[in-house]
Symmetry: C2
Amino acid sequence: MRPAGAWLGGTGTSLHSSGEFGLIARLRDLIERRTAAAGIPQGQIAVGIGDDAASLVPSPGCETLVTCDIQVAGRHFVPGWTTPRAVGARCATISASDIGAMGGVPRAAVVSLGLGPETAVEDVEAIYEGILDKLLDLRCLLVGGNVTSLEQGLLVDMTVLGEVEAGRAVRRDTGRAGDQVWVTGLPGSAAAGLALLDAGVRLGDAPPLDRLIGAYLEPEGRAREGRALGMSGAVTSMIDVSDGLIGDLTHMVEGRELGVVLMERSVPIGGDLHAAGERLGRPPEGFVLSASDDYEILFTMPGERAGDAVRAIREISGMPARRIGELTPGIPGQVLIEDAGGRRRAAAAGGWDHFSPDS
Amino acid sequence: MRPAGAWLGGTGTSLHSSGEFGLIARLRDLIERRTAAAGIPQGQIAVGIGDDAASLVPSPGCETLVTCDIQVAGRHFVPGWTTPRAVGARCATISASDIGAMGGVPRAAVVSLGLGPETAVEDVEAIYEGILDKLLDLRCLLVGGNVTSLEQGLLVDMTVLGEVEAGRAVRRDTGRAGDQVWVTGLPGSAAAGLALLDAGVRLGDAPPLDRLIGAYLEPEGRAREGRALGMSGAVTSMIDVSDGLIGDLTHMVEGRELGVVLMERSVPIGGDLHAAGERLGRPPEGFVLSASDDYEILFTMPGERAGDAVRAIREISGMPARRIGELTPGIPGQVLIEDAGGRRRAAAAGGWDHFSPDS
């Protein structure tokens, strides 16, 4: 656990003086104002905030997706490194990402907040603003939640409901032998950002590194790209990158008859990752392979469908995606890394620290 | 906040030695074993535990209900007073209760657990056993979740999804002037149980008081009765009692043109509540009127439908229910208490402490 610091314990209206019911009323007003301003049709909401439960009308022919993610101060985010609004945005992005990685659309969310006595009401509102920034941008409604006091600290637990056409949910473990493995964006950015923060580098200290720090503090998420990939019909499996490239490739094959060969040369390493590696005295590949919560999308498909997948992403956002490997029979559950010379070595879920730094 | 105590910090396999992935694997095995043993058809689960999100097939013609409730050690339960299994059961009951109070059926749940380093793996498994005891008894499946470490303490955040026929969700604020107000069971039991625990009385210390302590530690919940009432078509509004009788009656009328008259003589007060009042030197009515999380069901209906409602409950469980008041025009948003002589006085959401002890 890292220290909490900064705005936990900052100035502002204390929860004690506002009271739980006062806070809930303020948050409800905030949600209603923001939702109305976003102009999102609420026809699917039969019962909204303020009853025992919310009630949603499913879209005909769709399945309901559900995922939850708890984020704890000192473990998943450090208040001293970020803003309350960015914390809220991060939580919403992480949960929405899981819906996108199933090929679905986020529709509605509920949030549980645990608040230490040092949290100011203004900061709680800013967390909600950040949540709403992301959710409403995805046209997903916040339909309920609850707030409780903690002895210390801060946590946000978000549950997002999504929808996907019946039978079209894209699983993580359904890729087939011979399928290509692709990834969006630049995985490893979040790990580098976190390492920079741990080393004392902050946003603005070294502008060329800001993208990496931002990737950790406020990941963009690829919920839209995941949805587009699912709808393209091209992909055979998908997962979002929350445990690092090796970790999530492992999730794609664990317990199966096939494995993954990751082509080392194909792994995208940007100039800023090289700069971060130099600054921290670490090989930049390490950030890509070991634990990193990037919320990029890993996906598989037969080579002949690659054009369809690339086109689907281009139409949504133009996010780059890149082929990095192949699902391969005969190496059950394994992830192997193939170097430029064609030599293969075993990777492990732990990632980079299992390899020699000069490999 | 109350102290944590007892099994937090007890013996057993520490989380540190088990590791997060080891724990998750154990919990997944546990869920699969219990679910298979319960023999619940899983046809509605398109994708279960172990992917980015679970996917559920909605029942045709139904809306999807969603509710979440976070329970924190020291605030909502005290480890020293109870068992891990009872904590899990309590959390599941509380969330399922909200679905029942909408007239719905709980179908699927996800759970986020936050665990301090002092929590033993065996205790986490026992919490899950308790959750599954309650959920599976309601034929509700546990389809996902996540576990995170905390610096200290323990918390459980449950989200339950339910279903209700389209347009049949029963709201809390739709009762009509002239409707009778009824409640199941014996509200106030949980408040008395908590007061006894606070005074040092434990389960088994005074057997005649055990029912009250049990009502707080492990409420039964009325999800089935709520569903039966909703399906009967007799009720005009429903809410579960989580803020005490006065608090939840207030929720039924706040911001509306009508109010509630609560008939003091009709409020059920059992022999054990009298005994608890005597032991603690407090009037037993106080437990009923002030904050108490009983998870009984408050409901309203026109008098001519009372027989249908009573019959619906009798067919499900035989739980007693009782008429305690009436929705009344001309007292907007108010809750009034009427004594045996027909005199009315104002109640307030805070409950008993707003009244003189000899009233």
